[in-house]
């Protein structure tokens, strides 16, 4: 049935955007009741460990890049809580469709640091994840992977599988057509897909107020008929609460969701960027106080789940693991020229054989 217009003038629809935060920047509880697992070290400590591991990885990656042993690298400094919370709310058989700043989510899901180093070190094998075989590789073009997550979710729904596709994007991606087209279709088809927007407030040099006049990015879901919410992206307890609920609901037929996680990009966009060209160091300094790792650590210590000694030990362990990964990465010989042709098609077309031969000859001749 087509809809007729209402009989009289007046408001025909109302919308709202809800925000969730449990811990403030000092790790103090500002909203109760906390979820039950917020007192359970078996839930919280793995989250904390992944966040610390991600930061250790990040620091090492920057060092490797500066010493010429890694290519251009996009740091996730200050955004570690989001991916950790999201991935910890997913089932193994769900599918992550990440952008390029989601190391914590990828590490949680079993992508190895060696693989991450390989990718940013210019080697396709870094996206041949031995762990989450069905997860997507990072999408470098911003926002285009929202469509892929939508397609993955369609496949789940069509097969009656209780699985969820989770797409991670940044604030810049919410200006793109692919993002809107995906949200719209996900809504129309009622798909089990979650879009997580890490609003780190900068898309390279363009601040979010120049991206959009929208008051929140979460509200961009409203026009698509998709449920939305906003959450403190540096509060892992709030994030996990929101993510777990959204993913569970999507899994059991409640449709898609857009989660906007408010955070801040403490780093340059990438190692090829110099953020001092466009933003004040004083702004960054203020934002450091919101650090998600310190926030959780303070809460854990206050709740007697953690100590400074534990923390030192963990940092040592994380460093050791990264060093192992660096060794493996640096010891991995580069692929032969043949590798350019090996995965272009399932079978190399006859017409490409000559080009392969030429590549092999020039390889032989150094």
């Amino acid at each position: 049935m087509r809809k007729s217009p209402p009989e009289r003038s007046g408001t025909v629809a109302r919308f709202e955007v809800n925000f969730t935060r449990y811990l403030d920047a000092n790790g103090k509880v500002v909203s109760t009741p906390l979820p039950r697992w917020a007192n359970d070290p078996e839930v919280l400590l793995p989250l904390y460990r992944t966040m610390v591991q991600t930061r250790t990885f990040d620091t090492t990656a920057l060092n490797l890049q500066r010493t010429g042993r890694l290519g251009t690298y996009a740091s996730s400094l200050g955004q570690e809580a989001i991916g950790t919370a999201i991935a910890s709310s997913m089932w193994t058989e769900d599918v992550l469709v990440p952008s390029y700043r989601e190391f914590s989510a990828q590490l949680w899901r079993g992508v190895t640091m060696t693989e991450l180093f390989l990718l940013w070190g210019g080697d396709e094998r870094g996206s041949d994840y031995q762990g989450p075989r069905e997860d997507f590789p990072v999408s470098i073009p911003v926002g285009s992977h929202a469509c892929h997550a939508t397609g993955v979710a369609y496949a789940f729904k069509m097969r009656r599988q209780k699985r969820v596709a989770v797409c991670c994007l940044g604030d810049g991606a919410t200006s793109k057509g692919d993002f809107y087209e995906s949200l719209n279709a996900a809504g129309a088809w009622h798909l089990p897909v979650i879009f997580v927007v890490s609003n780190n407030q900068w898309a390279i040099s363009v601040p979010v107020e120049k991206q959009t006049a929208a008051q929140t990015l979460a509200q961009k879901a409203i026009a698509a008929g998709v449920t939305n919410e906003q959450v403190d992206g540096n509060d892992v307890i709030a994030l996990r609460t929101v993510a777990e609920r959204a993913i569970d609901e999507a899994r059991f037929g409640e449709g898609p969701r857009l989660i906007e996680a408010l955070t801040y990009r403490l780093s340059d966009h990438t190692t090829a960027d110099d953020a001092s060209r466009y933003r004040d160091e004083s702004e960054v300094e203020l934002q450091r106080a919101n650090d998600p790792i310190n926030r959780l650590k303070t809460y854990l210590i206050k709740s007697r789940m953690w100590s400074d000694q534990d923390d030192q030990k963990l940092n040592q362990e994380c460093k050791q693991k990264v060093e192992e990964a660096v060794k493996q990465y640096l010891a991995t010989p580069k692929q032969p020229s043949q590798a350019m042709f090996d995965y272009l098609y399932e079978e190399l077309p006859v017409s490409l054989q000559h080009q392969l031969d030429a590549a092999l000859i020039s390889e032989d001749h150094g």
Binding site: D128, H148, A185, A188, Y343, L344, S351
Partner: protein, 326 residues
């Protein structure tokens, strides 16, 4: 057996493959109850239901993009873009993702999808409905570009494209959707991809073409035969990867080559074929290679279409020119 048109052969191949493989689905604008604006998907909704015959929102980027997600999950999406001119917004998805996801993941994820679109002029349609941008796609590594030119080849090549484990852009020459009819047995037998078809043998000159222009080329060959000139006509069929071997062997025999396509001259796929022939056949060419193509102009609205598109007279003229060289 009843004779069917090219668009009916497309429909027959889709129905066949959807019956044989439950992972195959079609999606696009108006592909459901409407059966597609050219009726290529007519009747499929009733047979296979709305999950496998999916009317999408009016979102071309999405149509290409969701297909990639579906394909990575093991489905085989056959996506329809209503007219080739509207495929531009999804070229990002095809170029940056569909064609490279196998390579990017070292074969972990693959993209067995088909993107169908009607292309070319000649149906008195509005602007942006008549382009021939096959060379844009043929330039992309990791992609296949397939163009049928008869009901038989539409059926066999579409089956092959759907069964192919890599992404295929399948461009349908809409001017000849209903021009000729052939008996096409629904036997599920695919034709080979990556090979050219010699559709008329000859000795004096090789005419290389694809899509709707195969018909104009065959008509030209008939006219040439009246002048006592024997033209060999090759339907390239798979533009990428290109079977230069078949073309090269033919030109070795005839020593003369005319390439015919609707798309603009510069950077058209004829340029690639011509360059390859220069590499392979320099010493058995008896005359310069000649191209008969659309002009490097915007495709005109339809009152000037006939002036834009290669005519049989232009093809005959080009052949006569290359025959002037002794």
């Amino acid at each position: 057996m009843a004779e069917i048109t090219l668009v009916e052969a497309v429909n027959q191949a889709l129905a066949r493959e959807m019956s044989d493989n439950k992972n195959v689905l079609v999606l696009g604008e108006d592909v459901g109850i409407d059966g597609g604006v050219f009726r290529a998907t007519a009747g499929l909704l009733d047979k296979f239901g709305d999950e496998r015959v999916l009317d999408t929102p009016l979102s071309e980027t999405l149509i290409g993009g969701v297909s990639i997600g579906m394909a990575a999950q093991g489905l085989i999406p056959v996506a329809e873009i209503q007219f080739m001119g509207f495929a531009c917004s999804t070229i990002d998805q095809i170029l940056n993702h569909a064609a490279r996801i196998r390579n990017r993941t070292r074969g972990r994820l693959t993209c067995p999808m088909v993107l169908r679109a009607p292309f070319g002029g000649g149906i008195r349609a509005p602007e942006h409905h008549s382009e021939s941008t096959e060379a844009l796609f043929a330039h992309i590594p990791g992609l296949r570009v397939v163009i049928p030119s008869s009901p038989e080849r539409a059926y066999g090549l579409l089956l092959a494209s759907i069964r192919n484990p890599d992404p295929v852009v399948f461009l349908e020459p809409k001017r000849i959707y209903r021009l000729v009819k052939q008996e096409v047995p629904d036997n599920g037998e695919a034709l080979p991809l990556d090979v050219c078809f010699i559709i008329r043998p000859g000795n004096d000159v090789t005419i290389v073409t694809w899509g709707a222009m195969t018909h104009d080329s065959l008509v030209a060959a008939d006219k040439l035969a009246e002048q006592g000139i024997s033209a060999e006509v090759i339907d390239v069929a798979t533009l990428k990867p290109l079977d230069i071997e078949t073309i090269s062997v033919s030109v070795e025999k005839t020593g003369r080559c005319v390439i015919v396509h609707e798309a603009p001259l510069s950077g058209g796929w004829g340029a690639e074929i011509s360059a390859r022939l220069a590499e392979h056949n320099l010493f058995n060419l008896l005359a310069p290679i000649k191209r008969v193509t659309g002009y490097d102009t915007v495709m005109p609205l339809f009152r000037l279409e006939d002036q834009y598109m290669p005519s049989t007279d232009r093809i005959v003229g080009a052949v006569n020119e290359v025959l002037k060289f002794e």
